[in-house]
């Protein structure tokens, strides 16, 4: 019922955006303010409708209405509140809604702050994007063609042909599928909103550029558009950072960037947008390169749409780990993209002859040319990444079923371009802010930073034993960018501190480059000497398998046994200290404890807590799917990244489940995990407070006490005692408590003892309380189900050392601040102009 309201709200929002678009179009044509006001009211109404629809979806999510497909698919009853909310943007439909909502918010802001003559066309193109985006979540059928996929569809609508729906159309599942465990991270709560806000803002330069073409006013749009473009890029950068940091600390690929299409989808628009910003700055300064700044403003948004198409149409099926599933939006997304591209090209071509021609100067050392070249490098980088991401489409030119490119494709192209970009930042900044008579005076100005960068580079090369060319180039580029931009920054800061945004961001780029270089090219596996020897034997081809074939694969993990220290890389001592079962966060989660003692710093101990958890409870007859949560120890000089790839605990649980499945097939009791012939029975005597170790178990007698009048006791009980035992596995710090009973009763004039078995859930252990010795105070127990061959607890650890990865985060942070400074500056300029016009 409520879902229908949601659907109607989306339909109303769609209708309002369509009408607003028509209204803005008419207003742009005839300039009648009535149309503007009417359309603005419609846009406001659209905002309310989409807000209300979002409220409905949120309500459905929070009240667990699993008859709705979206709710069933992304949430479950056990999900904490913050992840119930973030499930809103966990899937395609919800994230489209979020994107639409932000686009409306941006449109309302544009309505308030955009001046004539641009405001009509700008808002027209804004509503055009909204019409397309809203059509993605309409979920209606027109003439047999489905348009959009509604977040409010019920399970019956989603799978009408399923047998269980046919037998019971009103079926409501008791619980949902739950949110993907990997997405249950605070980073993933905030990453999507920031990303989609960036996508929404990226529409602004697009709309302004189109408005400029429409109005034939090719210069004045830069000032109002610039702060928005900077804002869009700021959001995308923050979103990229959040995603990268999440990948680094949560996933097990051991890095922050994998050139996955989903990551590239945000990087390419960022690169194009940044290129656009550079061109807009030239145009602002010199009233030249109008064509280029328009083209790039359009291109950045086309980048957003194209990457949306790639990631959401299902076309990347085999190449991405986390591309969205195909919702049948392929055609619709294709239409969206093609229409937008056609409008852009059409209007641009229509106005081409009227666009100002650039008077070609011969001088290469002017700021236009240098800034333009910098923008071109960003563009080429974007182009390379876009081509790589498009492999499933473009690759068909070469092979039948194209795979994604090798990672080296991205690296081999982006490293040289990044080095070139680093040099351009310094030269560009010097030419932008300082006066030079000729190339010679520029050379003199650059002399000092160049020498300083050379000294820094050589020092680092010698200290860090760098032998390869790529790192040397990146190192020099990074150092030069840091030092050169720092020079400019200091000089500017002394004169006009408001102007340092650009040089500050470029300074951050240098830091980022050094961070990327050191953390990826000098990333090292942390291994013990036996694994190292094994790997060098593999390299030499000395190892063969059972069939006499050469072993070619190196190992990257270390086995740690409980409390047995291992020397790693002659640098650390790793000690596995056991695990704790933490059922509160995720059922069945184990938190491992690993102590790391650096050999060069005696007395210092780092404790790390990687986790392993089941993806979801094993369905009867299935296997558990385990997932890992890595842990990172952050330091300025280097991080230690580590995860547990396997453990004796996980192996035991897997075996138990396999045994249970076998039992189920054979018709045996499912709980009979250990067969009697592999276990043994032990007798133990314990005084109060004492512990006994039997096989893998540690059993402690905490207390015991007399009980009387208990229901479970036999008739004529003389005395009854209940013991309080704590049982845990040796490696585990989580214990379970059981209370075995011992009673003496009389029957037919004789004394009998009563000691029922107490079972420990999930451990296959049973305990009888068999006797009390009043003299010694010792209690005797018979413990059943102790495995005969119990091995020591162990874990497999994959650990990496990442030098100076902190520079990546610091670099991004500095760039973000640089962007913020620039936004304030350009917004302020635009605000003053607006006030001036009003006065």
């Amino acid at each position: 019922m409520i879902g229908i309201i949601g659907k109607i709200l989306i339909d109303l929002a769609f209708a309002s955006s369509l009408l607003a678009g028509i209204g803005y179009f008419t207003y742009s044509r005839n300039g009648n303010d009535r149309y503007f006001r009417l359309s603005s009211w419609l846009m406001g109404a659209e905002g309310l409708f989409i807000l209300a629809a979002a409220g409905v979806l949120l309500h459905l999510l929070l009240t667990h209405q699993f008859q709705y497909y979206y709710v069933f698919d992304y949430t479950s009853r056990s999900l904490p509140l913050k992840y119930l909310i973030s499930a809103f943007w966990g899937g395609q439909e919800g994230s489209f809604m979020l994107w639409i909502f932000f686009t409306v918010v941006v449109s309302l802001a544009l309505m308030r702050w955009t001046r004539k003559p641009y405001r009509g066309p700008v808002l027209f193109f804004m509503s055009l994007t909204q019409v397309f985006l809203l059509s993605m979540i309409l979920g209606i059928h027109v003439g047999g063609i489905g348009i959009g996929s509604s977040p409010f569809r019920t399970i019956a609508e989603a799978m009408p042909n399923a047998a269980f729906i046919k037998s019971n159309p009103n079926f409501v599942p008791a619980d949902g599928q739950g949110l993907n465990a990997l997405l249950q991270s605070p980073w993933m709560v905030i990453h999507p909103p920031v990303l989609f806000f960036g996508f929404s803002l990226m529409a602004v330069p697009f709309c302004f550029a189109m408005a400029a073409l429409w109005r034939k006013k090719f210069n004045e749009w830069i000032e109002p558009a610039l702060p928005w473009t900077l804002g869009a890029n700021l959001c995308l950068l923050v979103a990229l950072f959040l995603g990268a940091y999440w990948a680094y600390t949560t996933l097990s690929f051991g890095g922050f960037w994998a050139w996955d299409p989903v990551e590239n989808a945000a990087l390419v628009p960022w690169l194009l947008g940044t290129a656009g910003i550079h061109l807009m700055l030239i145009q602002k300064k010199k009233n030249s390169s109008q064509k280029a700044s328009i083209v790039f403003s359009l291109l950045a948004y086309m980048g957003v749409i194209y990457e949306t198409f790639l990631t959401r149409s299902g076309i990347l099926g085999n190449s991405s780990v986390h591309s969205f599933v195909d919702l049948g939006l392929y055609n619709q997304l294709l239409v969206f993209m093609l229409v937008m591209v056609a409008i852009c090209i059409g209007l641009f071509a229509y106005r081409y002859n009227e666009l100002p021609k650039n008077q070609g100067g011969t001088d290469y050392l002017n700021r236009e040319f240098i800034t333009f070249s910098g923008a071109m490098i960003l563009f080429l980088l974007g182009l390379v990444i876009a081509i790589g991401t498009s492999a499933p489409i473009i690759g068909r030119l070469f092979v039948a079923h194209p795979t994604p490119p090798e990672i080296s494709f991205y690296n081999n192209w982006s490293y040289p371009l990044a080095i070139a970009a680093a040099f351009m930042t310094v030269v560009g900044q010097y030419i932008f802010w300082k006066r030079q008579k000729d190339a010679e005076s520029l050379a003199w100005q650059l002399f000092l930073p160049l020498v300083a960068a050379c000294i820094a580079t050589f020092t680092i090369i010698i200290v860090a034993h760098i032998h390869r060319w790529f790192p040397m180039g990146l190192l020099f580029g990074g150092c030069f960018a840091i030092i050169g931009n720092a020079f400019i920054m200091v000089q500017l800061a002394m004169k006009k501190p408001r102007l340092i945004g650009g040089s500050f961001a470029h300074f951050g780029f240098g830091i980022l480059l050094l961070g990327i270089m050191s953390s990826t090219l000098f990333n090292s596996q942390l291994l013990d000497s036996s694994t190292r020897n094994y790997n060098s034997a593999v390299t030499k081809g000395k190892l063969t398998d059972g069939k006499g074939h050469r072993i070619r694969q190196k190992a990257n993990f270390v086995q740690l046994k409980l409390n047995k220290p291992r020397i790693i890389n002659n640098e650390y001592k790793f000690i596995y200290k056991g695990y704790t079962l933490k059922n509160q966060t995720r059922a069945g989660q184990q938190q491992y404890r690993i102590e790391i003692k650096p050999l060069h710093h005696p007395g210092k101990t780092i404790t790390m807590h990687p986790q392993v958890y089941p993806m979801s409870a094993a369905s009867p007859g299935g296997k558990i799917s385990w997932s890992v949560d890595s842990d990172v120890h952050t330091g300025f000089a280097s991080d230690i990244y580590l995860y547990v790839a396997g453990s004796s605990y996980v192996q035991r649980i897997n075996k138990e489940i396999a045994q249970q499945n076998k039992n189920r097939k054979l018709g045996k009791p499912v709980s009979d995990v250990l067969s009697p012939d592999s276990t043994t029975v032990r007798k133990i005597s314990l005084a109060k407070g004492k512990t006994a170790k039997e096989g893998p178990f540690v059993i402690k007698l905490v207390s015991f006490s007399r009980v009387s009048g208990h229901k479970g006791l036999p008739d004529n009980t003389q005395i009854a005692v209940r013991a309080n035992l704590q049982v845990r596995r040796r490696a585990s710090s989580t214990s379970q408590t059981i209370h075995p009973l011992f009673a003496i009763y009389t029957k037919h004039g004789k004394n009998w003892s009563y000691s029922p078995i107490s079972r420990l859930p999930g451990q296959g252990l049973g305990i009888h309380f068999t006797n009390i010795n009043p003299k010694t105070g010792q209690l005797t127990f018979r413990v059943r189900g102790i495995p005969k061959h119990s091995k020591k607890s162990w874990i497999l650890v994959v650990a990496q050392k990442k030098p100076f990865i902190s520079l990546v985060w610091i670099g991004v942070f500095v760039i973000v601040i640089g962007f913020c400074i620039s936004i304030f500056r350009h917004w302020d300029i635009e605000r003053r102009k607006r006030l001036l016009k009003q006065a």
Partner: protein, 129 residues
């Protein structure tokens, strides 16, 4: 002006040609086990559930059997412990090469549609409870 245009044109053509050639070399076609003779071959397929999957700490490898699209079943060896979500994957993409009838994978990509999209089966399992 003429010169600028020509050098610019040559630069663009040169760059694009180089880029596309390199791109063409760095991608390959999804293939089947018998064809996976080159380094970095990628094979798409499904796990053979009736055959054992096992990880051996001693041998430092994880082994399983996979059926490719042409119904060829081969043993796959992976030099790491069992990857996340392995048993849940509906489809596997392995990267590596064949040696003596065994596929040595250096990367395994799991496609788990259930993560993003519940199948009718998942709901059905509940409707029977």
């Amino acid at each position: 002006m003429r010169l600028k245009l020509i050098t610019g044109g040559i630069a663009i053509i040169g760059f694009t040609t180089l880029l596309m050639i390199n791109f063409g070399h760095s991608i390959s076609s999804y293939t089947t086990f018998p064809q996976a003779k080159n380094r970095g071959a990628r094979v798409v397929g499904t796990l053979v559930k009736s055959r054992p999957t096992a990880f051996s700490v001693k041998k430092k490898q994880f082994t399983f059997y996979m059926k490719d699209k042409a119904e060829n079943v081969r043993k796959v060896v992976y030099p790491k412990p069992e990857p996340n979500d392995f048993s849940k994957a509906k489809k596997l993409v392995v990267t590596g090469r064949m040696h003596h009838g065994v596929f040595y994978a250096r990367q395994i990509l799991m496609k788990c549609p259930s993560k993003y999209n519940a199948t009718a089966k998942d709901v059905e399992a509940q409707s029977k409870d």
